[in-house]
């Protein structure tokens, strides 16, 4: 459901970020990373849409559902960018943009 929410969000003009979290050690590494992703998402005002495919430590954070004005969206973007840029657990982050691809 969270993945679907992530895809639907982007398709409907919502914001989403991919983040790469600093790796953790230990037996329950995956669970800890997920919890960390939840925490990062919460701090940034986003929702954790889950791990990105098979890429360890990479998570998709999406804007919570709901209608917003353009100014509100921009404010959310700036806030999320600011939080993700300075969060100690985030090694890398990137706002997801639509890619143009053509069949050949």
């Amino acid at each position: 459901l969270s993945e679907a929410g992530g895809l639907d969000t982007l398709g409907a003009g919502g914001l989403s970020w991919a983040v790469h979290l600093d790796s953790l050690e230990g037996e329950r590494k995956e669970e800890s990373l997920t919890q960390q992703a939840d925490a990062v998402a919460q701090a940034a005002g986003l929702v954790n849409a889950g791990r990105i495919g098979e890429l360890q430590g990479h998570y998709l954070l999406v804007q919570p559902a709901g209608h917003r004005q353009a100014t509100e969206v921009e404010a959310m973007r700036q806030q999320a960018e600011a939080v993700l840029a300075r969060h100690e657990a985030v090694r890398w982050h990137s706002e997801q943009k639509l890619l143009k691809r053509a069949k050949r």
Binding site: L1, A18, G53, L55, Q96, R101, A102, R104
Partner: protein, 651 residues
Amino acid sequence: SIHFNDPKYPQQWHLNNRRSPGRDINVTGVWERNVTGRGVTVVVVDDGVEHTIQDIAPNYSPEGSYDLNSNDPDPMPHPDEENGNHHGTRCAGEIAAVPNNSFCAVGVAYGSRIAGIRVLDGPLTDSLEAVAFNKHYQINDIYSCSWGPDDDGKTVDGPHQLGKAALQHGVMAGRQGFGSIFVVASGNGGQHNDNCNYDGYANSIYTVTIGAVDEEGRMPFYAEECASMLAVTFSGGDKMLRSIVTTDWDLQKGTGCTEGHTGTSAAAPLAAGMIALMLQVRPCLTWRDVQHIIVFTATQYEDRRADWLTNEAGFSHSHQHGFGLLNAWRLVNAAKIWTSVPYLASYVSPMLKENKAVPRSPHSLEVLWNVSRTDLEMSGLKTLEHVAVTVSITHPRRGSLELRLFCPSGMMSLIGAPRSMDSDPNGFSDWTFSTVRCWGERARGVYRLVIRDVGDEPLQVGILQQWQLTLYGSMWSPVDIKDRQSLLESAMSGKYLHDDFTLPCPPGLRIPEEDGYTITPNTLKTLVLVGCFSVFWTVYYMLEVCLSQRSKASTHGCRKHSCRKGCFSRPPRRQNSKEVGTALESVPLCSSKDPDGVDSEHGDCTTASSFLAPELLRDADRNLPQNSKSDLDCPLHEPPDLLQGKDGQVC
């Protein structure tokens, strides 16, 4: 000796060309030896695959499939206004269309399984691409991707951070550690002077980049020249030439069969099918083994317009045709006896800061970097595979730049071709070009990068800010390369292509897929609805039983007896033989007092409800004290004051 009853098979010239013998992929001999792709799964990453069509259904692999646009397991294409979502189905048919079903066509690897990942029919992001490239990567062996950035002659794009990570992860961990095989179409931008080195999927070291030739063996109008193209195979040409016959969708205007599949889109799946044949005979081929075998076995052929050059290792490459035409017989025979290439070794130069002007043609800027024996000692790199150059150049018109790379042997690669339509004013910012033309050559020596401005207009001069050289290869020596070439040629008679000869394969790694237990949203919603319905019905039933029992008890039992609170108590003690061992779930709602005031648990309220079996109802009646039988006809829904028991308690 191979005959199929598929009506369009005779028109599949790319499989068996009777009109122009030799102008096909030379696969029939492979089929005769029962090599059909059995045990291999190829996934078409595209706009969907109509897997219900009879030419695909028997070979369809639902386990390897997914719809990322709708987030469900079924990659069926959706009808669209442009009638364009047939692309994936056509590609799929080229690979694995079922033979001898009297329908349409035959696939190159008709014994393989075909899956679909629907991802192009919706918004596509870096993260979604990354998911697609590793989807079911322990089931899917080969990913056929007949798409890429725009071929408009002015785009410079490729996989972004996550897509790159996914490609790398795929070759490292996919296919039980032997590496996913990514086959990409080199692009259709020939008319715009496009070059696949501006396409990061095509010039990636992790992908097998395939171009197209027409039935006459010439470069079609749409094909692009490229130093990082590995090989070519057949596809459609101009209007007078035949295109590829394959399965089509039958939605909207589709008929289930087409004779018009073309472009480099049609070439890449043929290559994917041939790789599937290779993997059948040797499943433990790594992703690099596959590339090596293509380089070793592709055949140069007569085309005066092509700039064939033979490199130091004896491999001939042209920017138009790569290392030449793919040949299924040669590929499979080589795969059969192939022992794995040694580990991937690499060398990365320092970031070389230049800040030098790029002069206008005929003058050029030349920068050098010497790779010494000491530089390569740690990695053990001796002979080359891919050579990559990452550059940052400022220029007011990017398409006016021309970049050439010279390997130590002197082999020249046009890695950055001028593009008249590219007027981008931002130059190149850490863009990586690559070449395969130095494959097999010695890595040690001086590499030269030559850049010039071929523009006509007097513009501000461009500046080469920095560049970096990356070499990929192995510890094979040039002698090892020669020995391998000889070994392969000895196998081309087919003498090893039988079941009695098999080289041992090491076991693969067991890599669990993390999404093995994912419930799809639709399934989850269904379960939640069923659960809610069950809970509601349970509560409703309980309430009905309680309330109906209460109302019956209050009307006849409670007139004479005090009532206890609660709907349940223990069953009556006096039981006849039939009741022994009977589990009576519905029990007296009211306890009764004997006339002398002793409580007992004889229920003269009926213990029966309409849900008890008739025999239990009869037994319940037998338990009632005689004097209350006449009160069995308890009126329902009596007003509360009439339901009060002897002691005034409300039942």
